[in-house]
Amino acid sequence: MATKNYADAMLDVLTLCMEEDPTFVVMGNEVLGIGPEAVQFGAFQEKYADRIYFPPCSEASYSALAAGAAMCGQRMFLHLGLAPFSYPAFSTIASEVATARQGSGGRVSVPATFHISHGLLHGGASQHSESPMGMYWNVAGIEIVVPWEPGDLKGLLRRAIRSDNPTLVITHAFGYGTEGEVPDEDYEIPFGEAKVKREGSDVTIVACSMMVAVSMAAAEQLAEEGIEAEVIDLRTLVPLDERAILDSVAKTGHLVIADEGRLRCGVASEIAATVAEHGFESLKAPPARVARVDAPVPGNAVQEAFLAPSAEKLVAAAREVVGGVPARA
C-alpha cells in the first residue's frame, strides 16, 4: 500500500495492461493530462512508444476508431481529453458505441474504454468546465465510472478495461494530483458497488467524483454542529447501487445530493427521483439537490464559485433538511 495520485493509479493499470496484452493500446490527444502529470507519464511513454498513439484533433473519428477496433476484440484505453472535447464524438458514443450490442442482438460487443476529465477549472470559462455525467447517463448502453479515490480509480479502471462493455471513465480534471492509498497489487473493483465513505445517522449525502471530497468536508463541519452525515461515494453510475442509497436513507431519513453537473436532468435529479420513487417512506423531509446552477460558466472564479456546489452549500442544505420535518398533507 502506497500513497499515490490519480496519474500513478492510471499508470499502474495501463502498465499492467501493456504487460499482459501485447496488443493493448493507449490513445489520446494528451493521454494523462498535459499538466505536470504529463511528466509522470514520460517513462511509460518511452517504454511503450510503439503502442501509444497521439491522434489528430478529431474526436469523432478516433473514438469511432476505438469502437470499430473494439468490435474486433481490440482492447484500448482512449483518452478524449476534457469532457467538452467528447462532444464532437457524441454521435459516435450515443449512436454507435452504446447501441452496437443491443442492435446486433448481442452478436457485437464493444469492449472499449473511454476516458474524459470533467469539472470546474477556476476560470476555465464556458467551454472548458463541463461535467456531463447526466447527459451520458441518459445514453443507455455504456457503463459509467466516476471514481474519486485513486485506489478506487485503479480497481475500477482495471475492471473497465477488462469489461466486455463500452465503459466511460469520468475523472475530475483536478483529480490527477489527488493522493490516496493505492494497493500495489493488481485488483479489480466490481461495478455497481457504492462506498460508504463516512457513517452517519442524521443525513445521507450522495456524491461522486470530486464532490465526494467536498461532501466529506461538509460532513466534518456538520459534525461540529452535531449533525452526523453519512457520505456515499457512488463510484459508478451505470450500474447504480440503488440499494446502498436506499439503505442509507432508510437509516437517516434525510437526503442531500452533491453534483458538479448542472441541475436539470443531472445526477442529483436522478438520485432524488430514484429515492422519491423507491424510498419515499424513508424520507422525513424533502431531498435537497446541491448541483451546479443551470448556466454556462463565466470565465472568472467569482461567478464560477456562485454556480458551483460547495461544502458551505451542502452544510446549509443538510441543516435545512434535518432541521424541518414538514407536516404531511
Binding site: S61, G68, A70, S95, R101, G105, S109, N165
Partner: protein, 338 residues
C-alpha cells in the same frame, strides 16, 4: 484476372438473388409486415457481389443503411435476413437490427450503421485492429457518396492514411441521376468537390473509379485494392459509379420498374416506356445476363432455370420469415450489456 464460367454464372445468380430478395422486401412492406423505412440495393447488386468475391472470410466489414445486398453477397442465408427485416427472433440479429442494422458477425460484419459516416469511421477502427493484431486480414468500409459530406469521413481517411491502416474504402456513388430534394428525398452528393476521388487523393490515399454495373470490373479493382492494403501498404479507396434506382427515395422505396423480367435479357419486345433506359443500360442484372448470354456462358434455358431456382429460394425464405416467431417483449433487455 477475370472469372471463369462457373464464377460468372455464380455471380449472376448471386446478383439475381439480391434482386428477388429486394423485390420481396418491398412486397412485405406493402403488406405491412414491417413498418419502418428501409433502403433497397437494386441497381447496385454487381458491387456487393464482386466485392465480397474479392475478400477473404477473415476480413472485417462495416456497412451502412443500404446493407441488404452486402450481407447476402457475403453469403448470409436469405431466410435469416428476411426474418431479421421482419424483426423475428431467429433473424440474423434476433430481430433487434431490422433492415438497417443487419450485422452478420459470422461473415465478418462488425457493424451496420445507419448513421451517415458511421460505417466509414468504424471500418477505420477495424483496420486499426487488423494491423495491431497482426496477420494480414483487412477491413472494408462500405458507404455512399453522402457519407463524404460528413466531417467524420474526412477525419477517418486522415487517420487511415497517417497510420497506414489496412482499410479498403468502398464508396457506392449512386447519385448519378439522384432524385435529390426535388423528389422529396435526401439531396445526396451535395459537395463542392467536383470529383469525389479528389477527397481520398488529398490524403494521399490511392483511388480508382469503376463502373458499378460490371461485376468483373468491380472485382478487378476491388482485388487490386485488397491486395494493396493486405500487403500493408496503407488504405485504398474504390469509387463505384452507379445510377440511382428510380424507386430509391426515402423513406419508402418502390418498384417503378416492376418485378424484374429476366426475359428482357434476350427478348427486346417488352423493353420500352418510361424506364427503357433502366432496362437497357442501367440494370446490372439484365446487363450481366446479356453479357453472359453473348459470351455463351449461359443459355436462355439456363437463365430461366436460374431465375426459377432463385425465386423458389426467396419465396421459401419469405415463408420462413413470416412463420418465424417474434421475440418476447421481455427479451428486449437481454443484450444491452454483455
Amino acid at each position: 484476372m477475370t472469372w471463369d464460367k462457373a464464377q460468372r454464372t455464380a455471380a449472376l445468380e448471386s446478383m439475381l438473388t439480391i434482386r428477388r430478395f429486394e423485390e420481396t422486401v418491398v412486397g412485405l412492406f406493402l403488406e405491412h409486415e414491417f413498418m419502418t423505412h428501409f433502403h433497397l440495393y437494386i441497381g447496385q447488386e454487381a458491387t456487393g457481389v464482386a466485392l465480397m468475391e474479392a475478400l477473404r472470410p477473415d476480413d472485417r466489414i462495416a456497412t451502412h443503411h443500404r446493407n441488404h445486398g452486402h450481407v447476402l453477397a457475403r453469403g448470409a442465408d436469405p431466410k435469416l435476413a428476411l426474418a431479421e427485416i421482419l424483426g423475428r427472433e431467429n433473424g440474423i440479429n434476433r430481430g433487434a437490427g431490422g433492415t438497417m442494422h443487419m450485422s452478420d458477425t459470422d461473415r465478418g460484419f462488425i457493424a451496420t450503421s445507419a448513421i451517415v459516416g458511421g460505417s466509414i469511421s468504424l471500418a477505420t477502427g477495424a483496420g486499426f485492429a487488423m494491423k495491431t493484431q497482426g496477420g494480414d486480414a483487412v477491413a472494408v468500409g462500405l458507404f455512399g457518396d453522402g457519407a463524404l459530406e460528413e466531417g467524420v469521413s474526412y477525419e477517418s481517411l486522415n487517420l487511415a492514411a497517417l497510420w497506414e491502416l489496412p482499410v479498403l474504402y468502398v464508396c457506392e456513388n449512386n447519385s448519378e441521376g439522384a432524385l435529390g430534394s426535388a423528389g422529396g428525398g435526401f439531396p445526396t452528393s451535395v459537395s463542392a468537390v467536383g470529383d469525389l476521388t479528389d477527397i481520398p487523393r488529398t490524403f494521399g490515399i490511392p483511388v480508382e473509379t469503376v463502373d458499378g454495373r460490371d461485376p468483373e470490373a468491380v472485382f478487378d479493382v476491388a482485388s487490386k485494392g485488397v491486395a494493396y492494403t493486405r500487403a500493408r501498404k496503407g488504405p485504398f479507396f474504390v469509387h463505384v459509379a452507379t445510377a440511382r434506382y428510380a424507386g430509391t427515395q426515402p423513406l419508402w422505396p418502390t418498384l417503378p420498374t416492376g418485378e424484374t423480367d429476366i426475359s428482357m435479357a434476350w427478348d427486346d419486345s417488352g423493353v420500352s416506356g418510361e424506364h427503357e433506359q433502366w432496362y437497357r443500360e442501367h440494370d446490372p442484372v439484365l446487363g450481366y445476363a446479356r453479357k453472359l448470354l453473348a459470351s455463351g456462358d449461359v443459355t436462355q434455358d439456363e437463365l430461366k432455370e436460374m431465375d426459377a431456382r432463385v425465386r423458389e429460394r426467396i419465396s421459401e425464405a419469405r415463408q420462413f420469415a413470416l412463420d418465424s416467431p417474434r421475440p418476447t417483449p421481455e427479451s428486449a433487455l437481454d443484450h444491452v450489456f454483455a
